[in-house]
Symmetry: D2
């Protein structure tokens, strides 16, 4: 399983791209893949093909009406690890013995 | 003000880098700069110098006992915008008229 | 067509990951997809599926003997644009009316 | 010393951002810091403060006439290592015993 953080936005559609980001979140939220939205991107968890298929859907949707798209993806693969959308944050809080600001 | 997402980890210290990530969160949490931790990084909000000073502190601390460090930073500057650690996520939820998974 | 920059390396395999990076370049160089290697990653040019298939091959190869992998991907899609591995750099040099340091 | 790859562009200034990227390269090229331009960013080599000062100059210049800026930075620190703008690429080519496409 991988954790994949994605952020994708169009160039040439003005300073505010919220409408396009929301469309991607619609796709992600309905995909059935586990995810967490944050102020700079969305972290998905699943097998490589599973999460990449969702990212490609977001790209294909955006491409329909955007001529230039910038996308950044960060991937953290760890053999045998699952449930890391929550456990990575929890383990940092456990080490520091306190609750941190998460959302 | 900028939003800055940072992730920083050592190479050469094994597969598990949680101890080093927790040390960075200790610095961030005590810095007084607003932040949100997520499974793939930590998003800070502040003026460029303010947030970059915290990132540099994390780097200097890690450099003391790590010979190789990989760090990725994403920055979103928007003139006159404040409180975006919460408002960016809230505005996506408002557009979709439902609560999304955030943490 | 997209430009996709990828960097992929294992955690837990020591400070030097040159052996693993070279294996990925072997895959990329033999893939037939146009690319440019730089000190921080490799930029590929092709359709989304074409370049992502090569990235996945690198991931699958690394996964065989690495339990943790960190990968970052940046994508620049521009409708109708081809040959940008060279034209993006050339256009900056043209604007500045001088040759810049490229490799 | 660190290798730092930066890419910085405005939102809200249309699909073509070449004019703004060229202005950043003007600053980088005149900074005296060693660099290599590639199709997806520019890799600088120097001490943390040195390279970050150049990145901040690019940001401050872009901020004068751009209300929204997206910037991504990747950093590779390695204790005691210098000249990696060329040696990282050279070492991959040495391992594969052939010349690769670099620019």
């Amino acid at each position: 399983m991988v954790l994949l953080e994605v952020s994708m936005s169009p160039l040439g559609k003005g300073e505010s791209v919220g409408k396009y980001v929301a469309r991607s979140l619609e796709i992600i939220d309905k995909s059935g893949v586990e995810y967490r939205l944050n102020p700079m991107g969305t972290v998905l968890e699943g097998e490589w093909d599973e999460v990449m298929a969702v990212v490609k859907q977001c790209y294909e949707r955006m491409r329909k009406d955007c001529n230039r798209i910038s996308c950044s993806i960060k991937i953290d693969y760890r053999k045998g690890a699952v449930g890391r959308l929550d456990s990575k944050v929890a383990s940092v809080q456990k080490r520091l013995k306190r609750t941190l600001k998460t959302s």
